[in-house]
Subunit: 396 residues, 2 copies
């Protein structure tokens, strides 16, 4: 997955239209040569942004030609003007792209409660269309960032019915990432030929194993989504049911989604490391997930990881208040491959070895319940001074 | 509630026995002249400390003579030695106090997974008994602290059937405070004459309006409890049912418990201010509490408060992911008495006024759902650099 390539028939652009300060890119455009099947998964927050509502509505019954995403302003909680602005962005885009406004999807991320600067966006769109190309996806990946420190994109090639098919994804975090779909936007593109129904099924299956397995601070936002466009340009045999091609496609989609998810967790606000929480041998999936999620959200676990402190008591504590039922006297906890708690009791482990593990930029915590065969994985990051710094004055 | 007085017939002491470094007090002792009725409310964490388990077991069927609480070590997750150590502390105490070991309650708070230094505790108990007095409750309040920055105690006098009755409380926080009963220990003492049943009822009613309404970081711990002892020395007419005296008693108990709870939130780890979240005009209590709790736990709201940032979008966002159902287009949000969001839409408010409000050491956030008559209050604190600092190296 080293060299990034976007699928056949897609072009992208990313420009700075002036929503963000300091000439940072803030408007991303993606256009497909032909109308694409599309699917989406959206925030579960009861409060929803205006751009998000547009996209949730349009993705259901339309083939899609273009996607416009702005960063720096969430277009949320503005009242009816927010809805009108969303429609207007779609309308302007559709005139450039030569499609119906219902064939344009939108995304907005950033501060809540301020109207979008529509003149800037309008001229930004004009510029973005002039820059559309197949080799500049990084510009688009940069333009969707808020507090992310690096753009996140990944691509992979697979073979379906003898044809080369490309899957590409870009995503942004980096605070408020939490199931489900919190302040994260993911755009997945593929030239695979696949029905809308199977595309939606694939997306839901994959999101639950990737983007919904990240937690940065437990907050979930009002504007967040993962969408996928499939324009069929690879000319593979159309996927219309669960067959071998579908499995291959889903596996590849999962691969790029997990890869993006890990990047999102690693780039959590102020993060110095990626933390993978692996709960295994649980009696069922729900138990495993309750525990992994509780540990991933615990500020005490996350600050301990920042401080290179092998404080397994906090891991056990977070498991204990997760709501899951388990046997305290059977639980084993590993930090990396170091057993620190056996059968619920702390071991006198090698602190130097622990420190060495905790100083890596990826740390794995394993919790073994010894009760069954189910497991769950969550990705999170540590909790640092910089998280507080970034979030104490974000709006101003 | 200015001058602190402990009720008739109680004596306390607080000593430094060497569990904590730097000669800090770490062993608190409370003894009642006569056997007292007792009641308790305990952590809901599935993992429970050994001292806590002792107390949960003994409080049910015994009158109580003494309470011993150590800080610096949670006596949790040690295996059977932890249970034996708890019993041994009770046994030693009972010999000093002249009672049965089942009449001794225990508490432990601090780091998880290390055995208690029993020799230090044994000699500490000896010293504590030599220092017992009725004027040194502050020593005991200091000895139960972990990362608290100040001891928390409060007392109040009331009149029951013509007799003066005193209620006293001490508590410790300060991280991991969250419903239910997380890393907090509260000890309430009264000379009221009241049946065990009514004492337990009163405690449960009051805890739900006070200690269970605090959140510092959403973590809940394995050792935490509120216990109350009532020794009857005030010689009021015994409370055995819900009558006027009971109501007076509960109101006073609530007053001291709310007072302690606010101190706990204000002294949350690294906190610079107390934040009160008031959700009003909710359709029912559950909706109100889901929203207040979600806002109180949000790291993004708490960091914004630290940064004096009137970021109401984060407040609305936290309400949105609380799981409560409400009408986004009706919600009003106040910071102090400043309306910042009306009917779900941001107002262009006076930022200088907002800054002035946010710079106070107590900030009230009000969320008006305009859907009914129910309300809920939560107390929390802001999220600062110092929270991270305190928690990134707690164990070492």
């Amino acid at each position: 997955m080293s060299e990034i390539r976007i699928p056949l028939g897609f072009k992208t652009a990313g420009v700075a239209c002036g929503i963000k300060k300091n000439d940072k890119k803030d408007l991303a455009l993606i256009v497909s040569d032909s109308l694409a099947e599309a699917a989406g998964v959206f925030t579960k927050n009861q409060v929803k942004g205006h751009s998000l509502k547009w996209t949730m509505d349009k993705v259901k019954n339309n083939k899609i030609k273009a996607v416009v995403i702005n960063s720096g302003n969430a277009n949320a909680c503005i009242g009816s003007k927010g809805d009108r602005d969303a429609e207007r962005i779609a309308d302007i885009t559709s005139k450039h792209a030569g499609c119906d406004k219902c064939q344009v999807l939108l995304g907005s991320t950033g501060v809540i409660g301020f109207p979008l600067p529509m003149e800037k966006i309008e001229s930004g769109l004009y510029e973005a269309f002039s820059q559309l190309g197949s080799g500049n996806s990084k510009d688009a990946a940069c333009a969707i960032m808020t507090t992310d420190t690096f753009p996140k994109e990944v691509s992979i090639d697979i073979s379906l019915s003898g044809k080369k098919v490309t899957l590409y994804g870009m995503a942004k975090g980096s605070g408020m990432i939490h199931p489900n779909m919190a302040t994260m936007i993911g755009v997945l593109l593929t030239d695979a030929f696949i029905s809308q129904e199977m595309l939606q099924n694939a997306l839901i299956a994959v999101v639950n194993k990737s983007f919904n397995r990240i937690s940065v601070d437990g907050d979930t936002s009002v504007c967040d989504m993962v969408i996928i466009l499939a324009n069929g340009k690879a000319a593979n045999k159309k996927i219309t049911q669960e067959n071998e091609d579908y499995e291959t496609f889903v596996a590849a989609l999962e691969k790029i989604s997990v890869s993006l998810s890990r990047m999102l967790a690693k780039d959590g606000e102020g993060a110095t490391k990626l933390i993978e929480i692996h709960v295994k041998n649980a009696p069922d999936n729900d138990t495993a997930h309750k525990i992994s999620s509780s540990i991933a959200k615990s500020p005490l676990v996350k600050t301990a990881m920042f401080g290179h402190d092998a404080n397994w008591g906090r891991i056990l504590t977070a498991a204990g208040y997760s709501g899951a039922v388990f046997n305290q006297d059977m639980i084993d906890i590993f930090i990396g491959d170091l057993l620190v708690c056996k059968n619920g009791v702390g071991l006198s482990f090698d602190e130097d070895k622990a420190l060495e593990i905790l100083k890596q930029d990826e740390v794995k915590i394993t919790v073994d319940l010894k009760m069954g065969n189910s497991e769950d994985i969550m990705w999170t990051c540590d909790f640092s001074y910089d998280y507080v710094k970034i979030n104490s004055a974000y709006r101003t």
